[in-house]
Amino acid sequence: MEHFIETIGRNLFAIFGVMALVGALLTIGSRSAIHSVLGFLFAMLNIAGCFLALEAEFLGVAQILVYAGGIVVLFLFVVMLVEMSKKREGEVFQLQSRYAVVAVAVGVVMFLGVFRKVLFGAASPEALVLRPELARGLDVAHQNAQAVSRGLFADYLLPFEILSVILLVALVGAVALAKTERV
């Protein structure tokens, strides 16, 4: 019994990973757009589970908060508002299938390359960890929210700010596009 539970605990990552794959398959395989969004939500929640299984609590919870809580809600919103009849929906999907095959093929090749590099390539010469002087007085293994924040606001402050400016640009661009369309 004890052994069985420990085995499950060690393999939680694999379990969540397989379920995330199932969610991803549902996303591309289901007929209705809403079901696709639900599959996507399922995949996102399971990826959060993967992070939690790796003891990266902050990343896991941020995954739930940002993707499951924010972005997928907006997807759902858009999909619900875009009412397509079954026939037109089918046509749209048919039209895109040729390009989709090409895109998937390119994606598969790229990801195979990445996986080959990750699985069989040499490990990086030094591990990406918090600088020891930043980690002072911090139990990094258990306080990873604090550890992430220290790294983000000390070593990587400039990339972090640039990223937020890029997001702001996207936001301003969306508002500008929507405004010009209406006038």
Binding site: I5, V61, I64, A68, G69, F77, M80, A145
Partner: protein
């Protein structure tokens, strides 16, 4: 202190989950009952009084005693409680109608998402810091082991609560969509827009305690906010409390913000097509969400398991004489009392303030609450910088 084995700790977690479920299923029906009675008295009615087990039950016996003593029976406040059993039976036994053109799977999924998201939030809520109680030694298998005050007092507890609570939105949106009918769809869309908008000021108002206490852990935050704050932290706490409570009312879709089920415009909003226990799950989820919002408000602003709100306990504790030390220590009973008071406030506000128009709700959320919450956050940051 013996260290528990893996299975023992799992069993203890199971006991904690059981306690939380019992707590929820005691508090929620009593809130429903209190809503009828308090709302009745606020509107100068008596509320539900008819179902009172006649002259045979406990309340009948008490009533006869009171009349014999020559007084109007105070326990008439409790008349109507047996009606709750009837309500539950009605929810369980009623015919479960599935609209013909509904999306069967999503229609079935939506209430369960609402319910699960509402109750899973309790995993990160700790009722009392440290050990809640120690199991007696005669207890089978896990005797003599301590039971902590929260199920999983994780390092990012607050983020967990906020994240899982946002998943609850899907229940409402999907219910509105899958019913395949206009009123539920409009109700679902409205509520999604409202909840997404009000999540921003809600999170911002909770950031003030995060800044002041420098933690994301639930019990650490509540204890630092209760007993570790300087006097000046009183100001952002009071403002933050009012902001949080307003946004909490909007998040749980309660009056004066109950747009999703504005019955004079949208029949019953997103759950128009639901009946039987599926409707019951939505109903339960709403009240559980109210309990969660109350729990967060009382933990971060009202002092949590300590007696006094707004960090006053920490200022008072050094002057507390020894024989009153019981009042200076954390107790789960204070926490639960504050939750119950805030649930009463929910009903109180419902009986006092009429419903907003939809554009008014959005204007209040975006134009007033968000800037106020930002100013409050700034205030908290200044106090954190100079006073803590």
């Amino acid at each position: 202190m013996p260290t528990p084995t893996l299975i023992q700790s799992l069993v203890i977690t199971l006991i904690q989950c059981l306690l939380v479920v019992i707590f929820v299923f005691v508090v929620v029906p009593l809130t429903v009952f209190a809503e009828r009675k308090v709302l009745g008295h606020l509107q100068q009615r008596l509320g539900s009084t008819r179902v009172a087990s006649g002259h045979v039950g406990f309340s009948g016996w008490m009533n006869r005693r009171m009349w014999k003593m020559g007084r109007v029976p105070v326990l008439s406040y409790w008349r109507g409680i047996p009606g709750l059993v009837g309500d539950v039976l009605k929810l369980i036994l009623k015919e479960d109608i599935m609209p013909t053109k509904a999306d069967k799977f999503v229609f079935f999924l939506a209430p369960s998402i609402s319910m699960v998201a509402a109750i899973v939030v309790f995993a990160a809520i700790s009722f009392v810091p440290g050990t809640f109680f120690t199991l007696p030694t005669w207890f089978p298998f896990v005797g003599g082991l301590p039971v902590s005050g929260g199920i999983a007092d994780i390092n990012v507890g607050l983020l967990w609560i906020l994240g899982v609570a946002t998943v609850g939105i899907y229940g409402i949106v999907l219910a509105g969509w899958s019913s395949n009918s206009k009123y539920p769809l409009l109700g679902g869309l409205r509520s999604a827009a409202q909840m997404v908008s009000y999540e921003v000021p809600l999170t911002l108002s909770l950031l003030a305690p995060v800044v002041l206490s420098a933690s994301l852990n639930f019990s650490e935050m509540s204890s630092r906010m209760a007993i570790g704050m300087p006097f000046w932290a009183l100001v952002p706490q009071v403002i933050g409390f009012l902001l949080y409570l307003t946004c909490g009312f909007a998040e749980t879709n309660r009056l004066p913000f109950d747009m999703p089920e504005a019955e004079n415009e949208l029949v019953a909003g997103f759950h128009t097509e639901y009946s039987g226990m599926k409707f019951g799950l939505f109903y339960l989820a709403e009240y559980i969400n109210m309990t969660v919002v109350s729990a967060l408000a009382s933990a971060f602003f009202l002092g949590g398991p300590w007696l006094l709100p707004f960090g006053l306990q920490g200022l008072l504790n050094p002057y507390l004489p020894g024989f009153l030390s019981w009042f200076g220590a954390p107790h789960a009973i204070f926490f639960v009392a504050k939750i119950i008071f805030l649930l009463f406030t929910y009903i109180w506000v419902r009986g006092t303030i009429p419903r907003y128009r939809y554009d008014q709700i959005m204007a209040v959320g975006w134009k007033y609450l968000i800037p106020l919450a930002l100013v409050n956050l700034l205030l908290a940051a200044v106090i954190r910088c100079f006073a803590v």
